[in-house]
């Protein structure tokens, strides 16, 4: 513009007055302005857009997961035309405590969360955006169980599954080898092994339930094996009653192994109880894969000695389901983010990026203990423990999310099921009927969830 035209105005034979020039400049700047306005949003039929920014609220505050998140974000920026990812990391405890006020306030565009009731709850409250159109593009990369896990009660999709981990019975290979123990596959063998361990001076089963939730893992697996997936899910969402005789069966079955727990379980955290296994004082521990972090804290040799097996069959028709708790973490889109209307295309692109095995692998490699869920994940680099975890979940026909993710939080929490299970564990031979009555009474006393 500033350059002199080679032939002067006469060459084009334009007789522009100063006012005309100003007018043209005015129009063109309006056009440029309009173009600039629209460039940030999704244009036409395209679901995703490049450049711009996306904001992310993250609960990945532990050093390794945090690093993994930052690495994925950097990879996304590179892959998506320089989209700037503004990350708000809040420690996971606080993140969970304030999720309600967070989502109603000025949340980021995308946030880290959990599948199960915890996801559906916020979808029902209108605090999460459905991502059906995006899901259509990426669903081919997920198996049926994961697709089910991200559906809201209204049938819409609300999240992208990014990782998960299984619950199983953990043990030390060296302890089993030294005593010649065999992996029990049915209830009788399992109990026989407990008896044998006791004879050998070991605490057969470790349990630390000070925080209330670890015992819920045992309740889950017993209920799944005895009464099946459908009953379990219905029970936890109030469609079945806790006074049901099938629930009584769970507790009487459980009572067959409670004598094999360590003493003082009500005052021990899961970490203290898992130290019993690390120190070879206890033989087995039903817990999530995260128990490996306790072994890693001891030494790499201890970690290499850690192994696990699926909870034994109980001889019911539901054994075939091979169901287990395998909590899934998801990435979701908020509703009330002040920037979402501007960033929607980038937010879609960001979620799409997380749906790839390559992105999930970056995160899980940086922070071992969780497993990618995408079908196209390169599994060749998995360690033995992860490979086995994938195997055990592949065999499962049904996956649950864990009691406190499948049920409403106020019921699962410390005033509810956590305290009921603790009082059960303190007196497993006590009056179960009255305990069941208390559970149902507590459920009935809860206000409608909305």
């Amino acid at each position: 513009m500033g350059n002199k035209p080679p032939f002067g105005p006469s060459a084009l034979d334009l007789d522009l007055s100063r006012r005309d020039v100003l007018k043209i400049m005015g129009y063109s700047s309006v056009a440029a302005f309009l173009a600039a306005c629209s460039s940030g949003t999704t244009s036409g039929g395209s679901l995703t857009s490049t450049g711009g920014t996306v904001t992310v609220g993250s609960n990945a505050s532990d050093p390794l997961p945090k690093k993994g998140m930052e690495m994925v974000n950097a990879a996304f920026t590179k892959a998506n035309g320089g989209t700037v990812v503004k990350l708000n990391t809040v420690d996971h405890g606080t993140f969970q405590d304030q999720i309600n006020s967070y989502l109603q306030g000025t949340p980021e565009d995308v946030f880290t969360w959990f599948s199960g009731h915890r996801m559906r709850f916020f979808a029902d409250k209108g605090l999460a955006s459905s991502i059906d159109d995006l899901w259509d593009k990426v669903k081919g990369n997920f198996s049926e169980a994961f697709a089910t896990s991200v559906k809201g009660n209204d049938g819409h999709v609300y999240g992208i599954p990014v990782d998960y981990y299984p619950w199983a019975v953990f043990y030390r290979k060296s302890v089993f080898a030294d005593h010649g123990y065999k992996i029990p596959t049915n209830w009788a063998d399992f109990k026989a092994l407990c008896v044998q361990m006791q004879k050998d001076g070991l605490t057969p089963l470790a349990m630390g339930d000070k925080d209330g939730w670890p015992a819920q893992g045992t309740f889950d697996i017993l209920n799944l094996r005895l009464n099946g997936y459908d009953f379990h899910v219905e029970l936890l969402t109030g469609k079945q009653k806790f006074t049901d005789p099938r629930v009584a069966n769970v507790f009487s079955k459980w009572a067959e192994i409670t004598p094999y727990y360590n003493d003082g379980l009500a005052g021990m955290t899961w970490q203290q109880a898992s130290q019993l296994v690390v120190q070879k004082k206890a033989g087995m521990y039903l817990l999530g894969l995260f128990v490996s972090q306790q072994f890693k804290a001891a030494s790499d040799a201890d970690l290499a000695d850690l192994d696990f097996f699926a909870f034994p069959d109980l001889g019911t028709q539901y054994d075939a389901e091979k169901a287990l708790d395998a909590p899934i973490d998801v990435m979701m889109m908020t509703k009330k983010s002040p920037t979402l209307s501007k960033d929607r295309g980038q937010a879609n692109a960001y979620l799409q990026f997380w749906s790839k095995g390559s992105a999930q692998l970056i995160a899980s490699t940086a922070a071992p203990g969780v497993i990618p869920v995408a079908n196209d994940t390169d599994t060749s680099g998995y360690d033995a423990l992860t490979k086995k975890a994938v195997e055990i979940i592949k065999n499962a026909k049904r996956i649950t999310q864990f009691f406190d993710r499948d049920s409403r939080p106020d019921f699962a929490g410390s005033n509810g099921m956590q305290s009921f299970l603790l009082s059960y564990l303190q007196n497993p031979k006590g009056d179960i009927t009255s305990l069941q009555g208390k559970m149902q009474q507590f459920w009935n006393s809860l206000p409608p969830e909305a």
């Binding site: 304030q98 306790q294 804290a297």
Partner: protein, 302 residues
């Protein structure tokens, strides 16, 4: 002390033994209480000096086999980004304490040095405000914060929500009642003649407050500053509800960064907690004299 003891001894005979016994009992009691109070702290220091692998393999009730080191302290310092969060807390605590003291001392001055119709009523309202638990008003407060627009130069999102200024304000609001109550009790011990003679000398009310009353209240102000600093420093609640940005949070929440989602390195956490407690302890040591005096503030006149 020795002279005194000697004097009593010479006066009455059977007392020395009894007194010595009671002194010994007193000291035994004090030493026992010291041990009881210091034990958790000493225990925390001991575990903070041990690596996690040591306590995982040998339990917390064991002698150190992995050696003692300051590694946990340096890790906590960097991993929880403590210097950054110390500053965050200072951004909130320093303006909060100063503002509270300014407002509360003005109020206390007006209510203790002047006779006007409603001064007792106003004092009662401020005192009653202390009794209101913060949790009661949190939901309306949350919506107020979310719907109060602020100009861009004081708020980066145009709201009172998620801002330092919002947290400072709520601290000032909640602490002013208590501070006013304490300061007005202290100011009542200052004779009104001082104010009156200053008035006669031609000083206006603000001048009297600043040049006459505040210097006289220095011990009370120092004690209040120590208390307020500790209160605000330890607060976790307001930032939890009224802030969403992880990088604006106060120091107390930085400790949460040291707690894993599942696995927590308690030795590291102990080191972090000890480090986080340091500023409070420093402030206490600096103002110790006033702090102890502050405990009995207003006890003489109510």
């Amino acid at each position: 002390m020795a002279v005194l003891a000697a004097a009593t001894r010479s006066r009455v005979r059977p007392q020395p033994l009894r007194r010595q016994l009671s002194r010994a009992a007193l000291h035994a009691f004090l030493v026992a209480m010291c041990v009881v109070w210091l034990f958790p702290l000493a225990w925390a220091i001991y575990e903070a000096l041990r690596p996690i692998s040591d306590t995982t393999l040998n339990g917390y009730l064991s002698w150190p086999s992995g050696g003692l080191s300051l590694d946990n302290f340096t890790t906590a310092w960097t991993q929880a980004n403590l210097p950054y969060f110390y500053l965050n807390t200072l951004y909130i605590a320093v303006p909060g304490v100063i503002l509270t003291l300014v407002i509360a001392s003005m109020l206390a001055f007006a209510m203790s040095q002047f006779n006007w119709k409603f001064n007792v009523l106003v004092l009662m309202i401020f005192t009653a405000g202390n009794l209101l638990p913060a949790q009661v008003i949190i939901i309306p407060l949350y919506w107020i914060y979310l719907n109060t627009p602020l100009p861009d130069f004081v708020s980066d999102n145009g709201l009172l929500y998620d801002q330092y200024i919002g947290i400072i304000l709520i601290h000032v609001v909640f602490q002013t009642g208590f501070a006013t109550f304490v300061l007005s009790n202290y100011m009542k011990t200052i004779t009104k003649e001082i104010t009156e003679s200053a008035l006669v000398d031609g000083a206006n009310v603000l001048r009297i407050w600043w040049s006459v009353i505040l210097p006289l209240c220095r011990p009370a102000l120092a004690a209040m500053a120590t208390l307020l600093f500790t209160f605000i420093y330890n607060d976790f609640f307001w930032a939890l509800i009224l802030m969403k940005s992880g990088d604006k949070r106060p120091i107390v929440s930085a400790l949460n960064n040291l707690q894993g989602e599942f696995f927590t390195n308690y030795n590291l956490l102990a080191a972090g907690a000890l480090l986080a407690a340091v500023p409070s302890v420093l402030v206490f040591i600096a103002f110790q004299k006033h702090f102890v005096r502050g405990l009995t503030l207003g006890a003489t006149k109510g």
